[in-house]
Each structure stands twice: as C-alpha cells, then as structure tokens.
Symmetry: C2
Subunit: 459 residues, 2 copies
C-alpha cells in the first residue's frame, strides 16, 4: 500500500524536505538491518526534535500508518525492519549529548547517539556507562534501550535497563510523556519506564534518556586460556566465580568457533583447543584487582593447554582481539550464518552446549557457539551453507529444537537480541497463552491502532 | 458491605477453617499498617500454596471482592490497608526459602519470608541479598517486591527491582503466570515482571520470586562524622563520591534529628552538631577497602566537629546505632510523626533541605530529616504535636508544599515507601494527566474489575 500523496507531503513538511525521502534510494537504506531481512518503508523521516517526532506519530496514528523507529540498524532480530511499510523514523539527527552531570553521575542524551561515542565522552570525565554490546561502535543508545542491550560486562554491571533513570517517550497518539529523571530511587506509580525498555519500538518512540553512570574504575586485569573443551571451561567459570569477587567479563568460545578463528586469523594457539576463556577484572586498587585476577588465573591456567595473563593494556587488547575475531571468522564460513542468542541459567551452559552438539550431529550442519559465560548468554551461530536457503525447513526445524532445549533448561529465547519478527513464532515455547495474552493486551492498551513497529514480538 | 455468607464459606474452604478468620480479632490484626491508618477487611485468609491463592483470587474476581495482600504490614504509605474491605490475603504461611542455588547465585523464595531471615540464610553461604530497608527485621520479600524497597546500600547495589530475576504472579482473574527465571539476561517479550515490581499489590499477588544474589564482600569499613550543618555535609558527600570508588552507604541526619537523638539517647556528641554523616565501604581486599575508606575519612574528618573511624565490627555497630536511633528518637517527640520520603537528584538534597527549613519556619512546626544522602532519598519527618490532628488542613498544606518543592527540584514523591493511598492525591504534581491516564489504563487492562488493592496509587 503506497502512502497517500497528501499525507506524504504533510509528513515531509514536519521535518523539512531535506530530511524526508520517498525516493527508492533513501527507502532502500532503511529497508534492512543486521538480521539481513528487507522490507521497504514508504517514507524516511529524520526529525530533529521531540516535537517533530510527536507530530509525525500523531499524523501516523490518525492515518493508521506504521512507524518503525530506525537507529543504528544493527539489530539481529529484525527490530528495524519496516515489515508493513509506512514510516522509517530515523533518529540520526537526534544524536546529541544534552548534558553530562558529573555530580549526579548522570547523562542526558538523545536516542541517536552511537554508544561508543557516548562512552568515550563520559570516560573523559572519568565516568563509565557500563552496557557494552559488541556492536557499540555503530549501535545507538535509542536502539540499546529499545532492545535492552547487554554485552560483555553484565555479570558485574547489569544490562541497559539498570542504567535508564529517565525516559522521554512519544506515545502512539503523539503525546509527549516523561518518566523518571536523575533520581537513583523512584517508586511513584507504575514503573512504566522499564516497560518501555526492551519493548522493541512497539510502544512508542524514545526521544531523550537520562542514564546512570558510575565512576570509571582505573584498574583492569585480564587473562585468557585455551582449553581442551567447553565442559572444562564451564567448570572453571564456576571455580572462578567461587573465588568471590565478580569479574566484569567471562567470555567463552567453543571448538567450532576456535577452528574458524584459527583458519581465518593469524592467532597462534594449540591445535587441539576446544574452548577459549577470557576473564577480566576491574576495580580501584591495582594490587587488589591484580590479586583477584591472579587468583583466578592460577585456577584456570593449571588446567589450560595454554594461558596468558596480560601484562599491560596492549596485551589485554591482544587477548580481546582473539575473542572479537569470532564473528568475522564465522561469517567467513558462510555469509548466511544465523545468529541466535539464547540465555540459560549459568549452570546450564554446559548442558545447553551438549544439546547443541547432539542437534548439530543430527542435522549435519555446523553450529559454533561463543558468548558471555558469566551471564549464561550463548550466541549460537548456525553456519548455513552458501548453497542452502536459510529458510529451508530443515534449518527452521533445527532452530526450533535449539529453542526447545533452551526452554527445557529453563532458559529464554533471547538474552539480548530481542524477539523482533524472527523469534515471534517461538514465543509460545517460553510463555503460556495467558502470559502472551497479557503482553498483547498491554500493547493494545498503549498502541490501540497497532502502528508502532507492527509484526514484531507477536505473531 | 459485609461479605456474603456463602462466599465466606467458600473462601474458608480453600484455605481450611484454621487459616481463615472472620471474627473481629483476626480482622483487626489486618486492618492497619505502619502508616497508622485503619480499615477493616471482611475476612482474613492465609493460603499455603499458589493454587490456593489462585482459587481465592478467582472467587474474589467473580464476586468483585477486593483483595489486599498482607505481608509484614510495615509499609508507610498504606499499601496493606483494606480500604474497601474484602479479603486480607496474608502470605505469612508462604514463608519458605524454596532453594538457594549457590552456583547460579540465585534464591527462590515464597513472598512471606522476612527479609533479614532470608539475608541471614544466604549469608551462611557467603552470598549477599543487597536490598536492605530499615524494616528488614519484620518486612517481607513479597512486600519489598510490591513496593520496590530500597534501603541503605542502594548507591552501590541498587534497589529490589535490580534483584528480581523471576516472578510467579497470580493475576486478578486467578491465572498463574511466571516471568523470568534464573537468567541474568532475558529480553523475551515485554518486561511485565518489572511492571509488577513496585505495583503495590494493585496488579496481582506474588507467590514466588527468584532473586539475584552476589558474593558477600568480606571486608567492611565505616566512619562517621558530626558536622556543623547539612550544607557542609552535602558538600562532603560529593567530595567523598569524587574519590571514585562508590561506598555502599552514605547516610545523613540533620540538626533536628540530631537534637532528638541527643535528648532521647545516651550518645555523646558536640552540642552544636547540625549534621551527621555515616559512610561505609565494602569489598574483597582489606587493604583496598581500608584505603578507600581512609581517603574519604581524611576528607570528611578535616571539616568535622568530631569524627570516628571504626576499628572493628563492634565500633561499626556503634556508629550505626547513632543513625538507627533517629526513628525512635523522633517518635519520642510525637507519636503522630509523619514520615515522607521524597527523592531528588543528589545535588538537590541541599536545596531541598533549605526549602524544608523555610517551610518549617513558615508553619511553626518541627521537621526532622535524615536518609540516604548517596541516593538523594530524604526521609522527612513532620513532628505533629500530640494535641494536633494529623489531618489538620495546615499539615496537609505543608505536606503539599514539601512535595511541590521536591517537584521543582526534579524529584519524585517517593523514593522507597510507595504512593499507597496517602500520596495518591499528589500524583498529579509528578505526572501529567496523560501519564496518569496511561498508568490507569494499564491497571484497567490487567485488573478490569479493580479488585486488587483498590484505592491505592490513584485517587
């Protein structure tokens, strides 16, 4: 359904002709995201203010036009795909840091700012914004709030939700609302703000956020280890955690991931490596941080094929480079790689990996896993052969089995990517009919016409 | 409106006659809470299982009978008062720890367990449940989740919301639902669970919760200081925080509170004391924790009338005894003391206390303040003379002015006590009509008949 010309003109007037696009080129740029799906919006709008967003949404609501908020486009579950056309509302011009309040340790930002850029600015003031998704260099704060992004440091520092103190939201009827503020504690009325966090663009458009910051810990120590297999790796994760002090990251990679990294990169590690662990501690006193890290290193290195305690920042970067090689290495195996991200109780990572192994053998396809061992969050990469359709029923069946195993282990469909449209059909595996009905009724209450990011979360 | 006899019999059968009470004595015991209000329920029911709760709620919904979940009764905003009669659903028999999972660092509990009792059990396994409201010795986990309790350690560790990983909720229609689990990360569907946290018993009955625990830090250091005035105290709070490492508590008391403490207790401190600060650090390495605390102590003691660094646990307890004397000392001034708990951005504590001083003078009534300086959370105690009605229009006007000042300083009506019925009439000061309408529409969607704790949060 093409957009009515008069409405297109009205929408264009709101943002100005140079910030609206109906030509094919502009629309194509907003037709896809990192989930590698595609659907064309009818118009791309780049508002500069909350008021402009409000006017756009009001007009969309009056005319029942879908609104898909478009930020970094780095989502892996299809959050930014304009499945039903309509408006791609791009927040790229709303990318300012409005204020960094060092005394209250808060920052107020617009949604379009890129996460790393924001983190660098607050770091200059010795402050830390802990959420750190792998896509931080190109994803935005708005997208992070929409998906409740996690990342590498969650075991110690939590996820995006834990850092949102205040939120300005344009509701589906165009109303501008504000919840929270700079307060560390607030229990006035319902916690509507945190219902919006992680709502995947389906309840409103975020136009401003106040985020909690913490003092930037100056001391960091890290080590890595190449191990025989993931079972040993997971045992060691628990031994490390039983030391007491929480590391800020415990990352792992499995045998298939390591094989890909070996073939794709110049890193040198034992041929028989079946698992990789990277553990990082931070804190305020160099001796204390070093003592914790060394204690953990002793435990891990005793059982490792090879291990390395980073002596300085440069060596630490080198350890992380191995971990960060996983995604490009796996993409080099197939451009059709599928990325799932189930999350299970930490003790169930081992059983989940075993289950995945069985599934892998049954289907004769490679599955490579890596992720956040401390959080129980596993990135499951299905290496779909280039000559195979990724919608092949065999693949779909395999994915469903993976989710079923995760549910049996009391896990969740998504640790950080969100449901989007890709996982919507699996929601019934995790939730009862009544639970899904409750979620749908909240959506209906807030967005009665269903204009906000239709086709996401629910089938 | 008395309860229909047949319905009373049916409800009694669900829990067994020994766990139901319609006699006046049983009902009186559930007619009040720490807000010192009173309203009689028609029946008291003490279910033992989720299924019993479900049956009770289903029957209540079918017959439009109010359900007020009753836990510790320690709330200060009226959350447990059966304003419209109906069922007082007492969770006292659902008070078990179902599991402490040391490897996943989670605990699964029933709602009726007392917070301190729970904390002690997990501490035996070297784990910490950080939320620590002042009423921990008699309030329950269920009540804490309902109100999103805070307490003393929030600047470092956050509030109850941050520790709820999983929740079993009986919805107003009697459906048993479950959200979350043991996962540290989950972004499947809407975060309904955290909408329930802090919903003050108005959206459902919590029957089981899975809580996040952290390793119990073995090292603690604390110091206190008696200072000239609160302006100096708040300056020092910021100096302490600028050191970098976050303390786990920064508590303050003002001149009126200190005067009451002096008159009521045996503690010895300088006559001219106008403010008290207590700062506590914790961590994993004794030298590191001590170094942080000593650095902060140096900053504070240089400007103090008198100060004390606790040499051991006994001395630390002695420092906390001074802080904990505040509430009994203020109650000794008047049994009609009113306890408000606004929260403001931390930098606005000073301006808020100045505003309160002006209001105090204008109304000729004593107001004593203490609270959580690190969180911006001020407990404002209005000393209503014994011969004055606490509903005196003058008092009401004064309270409204306090809230208005807090709003001007971008604060919130409640940092941890909740809205209950006492603050419902002030909600419009913090939220726009549209924002309140949104909250009300969520309530209506989840509880269409309005049976869950009627008369709370909204007027």
């Amino acid at each position: 359904m093409a957009l009515d010309q008069a409405i297109a003109r009205k929408l264009t007037e709101i943002v100005g002709v140079q910030n609206a696009g109906t030509e094919v080129e502009a629309r194509i740029c907003h037709s896809y995201d990192a989930s590698k799906q595609s659907a064309m919006p009818d118009i791309v709008l780049k508002p500069a203010t909350t008021e402009e967003v409000s006017e756009i949404v009001k007009c969309a609501n009056e005319n029942s036009i879908p609104v898909v908020t478009w930020a970094g486009g780095s989502g892996l579950s299809g959050g930014a795909i304009p499945l039903k056309g309509g408006i791609a509302l791009d927040t790229c011009r709303m990318n300012r840091i409005i204020e960094i309040d060092t005394k209250n340790m808060t920052a107020t930002v617009q949604p379009g700012i890129v996460v790393t850029e924001f983190q660098n600015e607050v770091a200059k003031l010795c402050l830390l914004y802990p959420p750190d998704p792998a896509s931080a260099d190109f994803c935005t704060i708005g997208g992070n709030i929409s998906e409740c992004a996690g990342g590498l440091r969650c075991i110690k520092y939590g996820v995006t939700r834990d850092y949102v103190l205040g939120l300005e939201v344009v509701l589906p009827d165009g109303s501008i609302t504000r919840f929270g503020g700079k307060m560390l504690k607030s229990v006035s009325g319902y916690d509507v703000m945190r219902l919006f966090v992680g709502s995947e663009g389906t309840l409103g458009v975020f136009t401003e956020a106040t985020l909690k910051l913490i003092p930037l810990p100056p001391c960091v120590e890290a080590f890595s280890a190449f191990l025989n297999d993931t079972n040993l790796a997971m045992e060691l994760v628990h031994e490390v955690l039983s030391i007491g002090e929480l590391p800020r990251a415990i990352e792992f990679m499995d045998r298939n991931t390591m094989k890909a990294v070996r073939n794709h990169s110049k890193f040198d590690f034992p041929e028989e490596t079946g698992a990789f662990l990277l553990v990082e501690y931070d804190g305020w006193h160099s001796e204390a941080v070093r003592a914790s890290a060394e204690k953990a290193f002793k435990v891990v290195s005793a059982k490792a094929l090879q291990s390395k305690f980073a002596a300085n920042q440069k060596e630490r970067d080198a350890l992380w480079a191995v971990r960060k090689a996983s995604s490009p290495a796996l993409y080099s195996l197939s451009s059709k790689k599928l990325s799932e991200d189930v999350s299970v109780p930490r003790t169930q990572i081992g059983p989940m990996l075993t289950a995945i192994n069985t599934i892998e053998k049954a289907y004769g396809l490679t599955i490579a896993c890596f992720g956040h061992a401390g959080d129980g969050n596993i990135h499951i990469n299905v290496i779909v052969p280039e000559d195979m359709d990724k919608h092949d029923p065999k693949i779909e069946k395999m994915i469903a089995e993976i989710f079923e195993r995760a549910m049996e282990l009391k896990g969740t469909l998504s640790g950080e990517h969100g449901i989007g449209n890709l996982k919507a059909k699996y929601m019934h595996l995790e939730f009862s009919e009544r639970e899904i009905e409750l979620m749908k009724s909240l959506k209906k209450t807030i967005d009665p016409k269903g204009i906000m990011n239709p086709g996401k979360i629910f089938v």
